[in-house]
C-alpha cells in the first residue's frame, strides 16, 4: 500500500471524519490520497485558519482535530494555532510536509526546520525517519494528543518518505514507556480533601478548562450542589458549571465579577479543579487569596505547586477525582448550615456589585447590550466562538453559558483571528447546532479569508462583528494606563463589512439600532446560510470591572 494511503487508513482507524488543511509541494502525495479517501477535507484559505478550525472542531466535539499543512511557510503559518492549542490544552494532530530527505539541511526550497521551530510549543512531535514507522507514529500522536492533559502533536513528513509502498498492518496498541499519565486520583488525598471541604466555612470551587477537557461538568455540578459550594470558573472553564445556577458567582479574574474575586479573597478553602492559577486569575500573586488553603486537582502534576502552593494536591483526571470526591463528601454528612453566613456575605456582594453598565439614552448600541441581545435572540442555545479583546470579555460576562463546549475561545495565548476559523470547525463538528461568532472589527480581519471556506461549505455560521472602530482593549489600556495617548488603535472605517460579505457571496447586514436589535438578530439567525453582521456599537466603552495588571483582587475597579 502507498504510505499516504496508509496515513488515511490510520486516520479512519482513529475515527477522524474531517481534516482541515492546505496543500503544497511537500504534501502533494498526501493530498493525492485525500482524493480517494472517505474522510472529508476542508480546504481552508490560510494554514492558520486550518489550525484554528481544527481547534474549534476539537473544542466543540471533544475529539482530536486534524490539520494538514505543507513545508516551509505552510508549517510556519501553523505556529500560532500550535501554540494556542498548547496553551489551552487542545487535542490537535498537525501533519506537515517536509522537503525530501536528501535536501534536508540544505536550505532547500520551502524548507524550514519545522521539527526544531515547533519543539517549544508542542506536547510532542515526530520527524518521520522511515516510511514503515508512519502508522505507529500516527497512532502514538493521537494517543498523546487526547490523553492526560490534552495538547497538540506534530508529525513532520519528508515528502520522499511518503512516496513509497509500505506493508501496512493496523496498529492496535500504543506503547510509550515515558508517557503514563495519572488518571486515578489518590484515595487518601481525595478523602482528606472531602474532610477539608466539610470543615471549611468559606469554601469556593474554582474550576478551569481542565474540567471541560475531562468532560467532568456533571461531576463538578454534582459536587457543588451536594455541598452547596459557591462556584466560579476561569475564562476557559465557562460552561463547566451552569451560569444560570444560583450557586454561580460569575467568572473570576481580571474581568471577573466582584462576587467571584472577593469570595476568592476571603475564602478559607479553595478547591481548584483543572485550572492553573494564571496571572489573569491571581492578580498580584503575593496578595492572592491570602486566607485560603488549596486543594488542587490537575491531571498535569507540573501545574500543582507551580504558581500557588497546594495543601492537598491531587493528580488525576477531573472526572475521576470529582466523582469520587463527591461521594466521599456525601458520606461525611457535613452540616450545610455552616455555610449560611458565607452565602449571606456572597449574596451581599452579588446584590451590591452585579455586572452593570450605563445603557445609552438613545438608540445607540452598547457593546454589553449587544451580547445581551444575542443571548436573548438565541435563548442561550448557541455555540459561541470569539476572538480576543473587549468583545471576548463582554461575551464571557453577559452570555450565560449553561453547558460545556458551547464557549469556544482562545484563552491562554489570546489569539486574535481565532474566532472565525474556530467557529467553522465547531459548526462542522456539530452541524445541527447554531454557531455564532462574536468578534471585533480588529480581530475579524486577522483571519477574514476564512469567509470563503464558510461560503464554500455553506456553513450557516452567523458572524457578529462588534464594531467600535477601535482595537478596543488596547485602546482601553492606553486610556487607563498610558494617559489616553491612543497609539495605533484607530481602525478607521475599513473594510465595509456589508460589502465584504457581498464579495464573499454571503449575506451582509448592518445593525445600528438598539430598539430593533434582538428582532434583527433573530431574523438573521433564522435565515439559511452564513451571515456577516456589522453591529455598530459605542466607540469608547471600557470593559469593567477590572483588576489592574499586578493589582490585588480586592482592589478591583469599575
Amino acid at each position: 500500500m502507498r504510505a499516504v494511503d496508509a496515513i488515511m487508513r490510520c486516520l479512519e482507524a482513529e475515527g477522524v471524519d474531517v481534516i482541515f488543511g492546505y496543500p503544497g509541494g511537500a504534501n502533494l502525495p498526501t493530498y493525492d490520497a485525500i482524493y480517494d479517501s472517505p474522510i472529508r477535507h476542508v480546504f481552508v484559505r490560510h494554514e492558520a485558519g486550518g489550525g484554528h478550525a481544527a481547534e474549534g472542531y476539537a473544542k466543540a466535539s471533544g475529539q482530536v482535530g486534524v490539520c494538514f499543512a505543507t513545508s516551509g511557510p505552510g508549517a510556519t503559518n501553523i505556529l500560532t494555532p500550535l501554540t494556542d492549542a498548547m496553551m489551552d490544552s487542545v487535542p490537535v494532530v498537525f501533519f506537515t510536509g517536509q522537503v525530501r530527505t536528501d535536501l534536508l539541511g540544505t536550505d532547500g526550497f520551502q524548507e524550514a526546520d519545522t521539527y526544531g521551530i515547533t519543539m517549544p510549543v508542542v506536547k510532542h512531535s515526530f520527524m518521520i525517519q522511515r516510511p514503515d514507522e508512519i502508522p505507529r507514529v500516527i497512532h502514538e500522536a493521537f494517543h498523546i494528543a487526547r490523553t492526560g492533559r490534552p495538547g497538540p502533536v506534530l508529525i513532520d513528513m519528508p515528502t520522499d518518505l511518503t512516496r513509497v509502498e509500505i506493508d501496512y498492518e493496523p496498529v492496535t496498541d500504543v506503547n510509550l514507556p515515558g508517557y503514563q499519565p495519572t488518571v486515578e486520583g489518590n484515595q487518601k488525598q481525595i478523602r482528606l480533601a472531602a474532610k477539608a471541604l466539610a470543615n471549611a466555612n468559606r469554601p469556593v470551587i474554582y474550576a478551569g478548562g481542565g474540567v471541560v477537557n475531562a468532560n467532568a461538568a456533571a461531576e463538578l455540578t454534582h459536587l457543588a450542589t451536594t455541598g452547596r459550594f459557591p462556584v466560579t470558573c476561569t475564562l476557559m472553564g465557562l460552561g463547566a458549571f451552569p451560569a444560570p445556577h444560583e450557586q454561580w458567582l460569575g467568572m473570576l479574574g481580571m474581568h471577573g465579577t466582584r462576587a467571584a474575586n472577593y469570595a476568592m479573597d476571603e475564602a478559607d478553602l479553595i478547591l481548584c479543579a483543572g485550572a492553573r492559577f494564571d496571572d489573569r486569575i491571581t492578580g498580584k500573586l503575593s496578595e492572592f487569596a491570602p486566607r485560603a488553603k488549596f486543594i488542587h486537582i490537575d491531571v498535569d502534576p507540573a501545574e500543582i505547586g507551580k504558581n500557588v502552593p497546594a495543601h492537598i494536591p491531587i493528580v488525576g483526571d477531573a472526572k475521576n477525582v470529582l466523582a469520587r470526591l463527591a461521594s466521599e463528601y456525601e458520606s461525611i454528612d457535613a452540616d450545610v448550615e455552616r455555610l449560611a453566613a458565607w452565602w449571606q456575605r456572597i449574596d451581599g456582594w452579588r446584590t451590591q456589585h452585579p455586572l452593570r453598565y450605563e445603557d445609552s439614552a438613545d438608540d445607540e448600541i452598547k457593546p454589553q447590550f449587544m451580547v445581551q441581545a444575542l443571548y436573548e435572540a438565541t435563548a442561550g442555545k448557541a455555540i459561541v466562538a470569539t476572538d480576543v479583546g473587549q468583545h471576548q470579555m463582554w461575551t464571557a460576562q453577559y452570555f450565560h453559558f449553561d453547558a460545556p463546549r458551547k464557549w469556544i475561545n482562545s484563552g491562554g495565548l489570546g489569539t486574535m483571528g481565532f474566532g472565525l476559523p474556530a467557529a467553522i470547525g465547531a459548526q462542522i463538528a456539530r452541524p445541527q447546532e447554531l454557531v455564532c461568532v462574536v468578534s471585533g472589527d480588529a480581530s475579524i480581519q486577522m483571519n477574514v479569508q476564512e469567509l470563503a471556506t464558510m461560503r464554500e461549505h455553506d456553513l450557516p455560521v452567523k458572524v457578529f462583528v462588534m464594531n467600535n472602530g477601535y482595537l478596543g482593549m488596547v485602546r482601553q489600556w492606553q486610556e487607563l494606563f498610558w494617559d489616553r495617548r491612543y497609539s495605533s488603535v484607530d481602525m478607521g472605517n475599513w473594510p465595509d463589512f456589508v460589502k465584504l460579505a457581498d464579495a464573499y457571496g454571503i449575506a451582509g447586514h448592518r445593525l445600528e439600532d438598539k430598539t430593533t436589535l434582538v428582532d434583527d438578530m433573530r431574523r438573521i439567525i433564522a435565515a439559511d446560510g452564513p451571515a456577516l453582521v456589522d453591529v455598530r456599537v459605542t466607540r469608547e466603552e471600557n470593559t469593567y470591572p477590572m483588576i489592574a495588571p499586578g493589582a490585588a483582587a480586592r482592589d478591583m475597579v469599575g
Binding site: 519543539m119 514507556p177 474532610k195 477539608a196 488549596f294 507540573a302 495543601h311 466521599e328
Partner: protein, 185 residues
C-alpha cells in the same frame, strides 16, 4: 486518616503546603531518556524556556543501546527542583528521573590541567598530582598535563593548588553519578 463516613474534625489551620520550594543545596539529576534524535534539544529547550539554569551536563550511552543517560547538576537554591523534575517528566522521551541523594551517591568528574612547569617546579606539581591520585598524561619542556578524577570538590581543590604554578588551561567534564548499593540508578 479517618475512615470514610467519620465526622472527624480537621482544622484547616493544620494543613501544610507540600514542599515545592528551594532546598538550597546542589542536586544531581540522573535522567534516563530514549536514544532518539532531538531528545537533548527537548531537554535543553525546556530548561531555556522555563529559565532553569544547568550547572553541569553530561550525556552518554547506557548498558542499553536504546537509552541514554543525562546527568545534570542544578542549584536547589535557585530553582524548585520539584518543578524541574515535573516539567522534565512531561517530555515523552524522558523515562526516569532520579534526584540523587548526596549520601547515597557516588559522583565523579574528570578534569585535565595543563600547568606551566620548569625543571624546578616539575617535581612539585608531580607530587601534588600523586597526592590527588592524578596521572601525568602529557609532558613537555615547559608544561605538565595532569588528569584528575574525583568529586567536584576534589577537582576544585586540585585546581586551587596548581593555579599558582601557572595554569595554561583546564578542561573538565560535568559530573556523572551512580547510586550506592544493589538498586539501579
Amino acid at each position: 486518616m479517618g475512615e470514610p463516613g467519620t465526622k472527624e474534625m480537621l482544622s484547616l489551620e493544620e494543613l501544610q503546603a507540600t514542599a515545592s520550594g528551594r532546598t538550597g543545596r546542589k542536586h544531581i539529576l540522573s535522567i534516563l531518556v530514549e536514544n532518539k534524535p532531538g531528545v537533548l534539544t527537548r531537554v535543553a529547550g525546556l530548561f531555556a524556556r522555563r529559565g532553569f539554569n544547568i550547572d553541569t551536563l553530561v550525556v552518554g550511552p547506557t548498558d542499553d543501546p536504546r537509552l541514554s543517560r543525562i546527568t545534570m547538576t542544578l542549584d536547589g537554591a535557585v530553582h524548585s527542583i520539584d518543578q524541574v523534575t515535573k516539567q522534565l517528566h512531561k517530555l515523552i522521551n524522558v523515562l526516569k528521573i532520579r534526584d540523587l541523594e548526596p549520601e547515597d551517591t557516588i559522583a565523579r568528574e574528570l578534569a585535565m590541567f595543563k600547568v606551566t612547569t620548569d625543571a624546578a617546579s616539575r617535581a612539585e606539581v608531580m607530587q601534588l598530582a600523586e597526592i590527588f591520585k592524578g596521572r601525568i598524561v602529557d609532558v613537555s619542556k615547559r608544561s605538565l598535563t595532569v588528569e584528575v578524577v574525583g568529586t567536584s570538590e576534589k577537582v576544585a581543590a586540585f585546581e586551587k593548588l596548581v593555579r599558582p604554578f601557572g595554569l595554561v588551561e583546564m578542561v573538565q567534564t560535568g559530573e556523572i553519578a551512580i547510586s550506592r548499593g544493589r538498586v539501579a540508578t
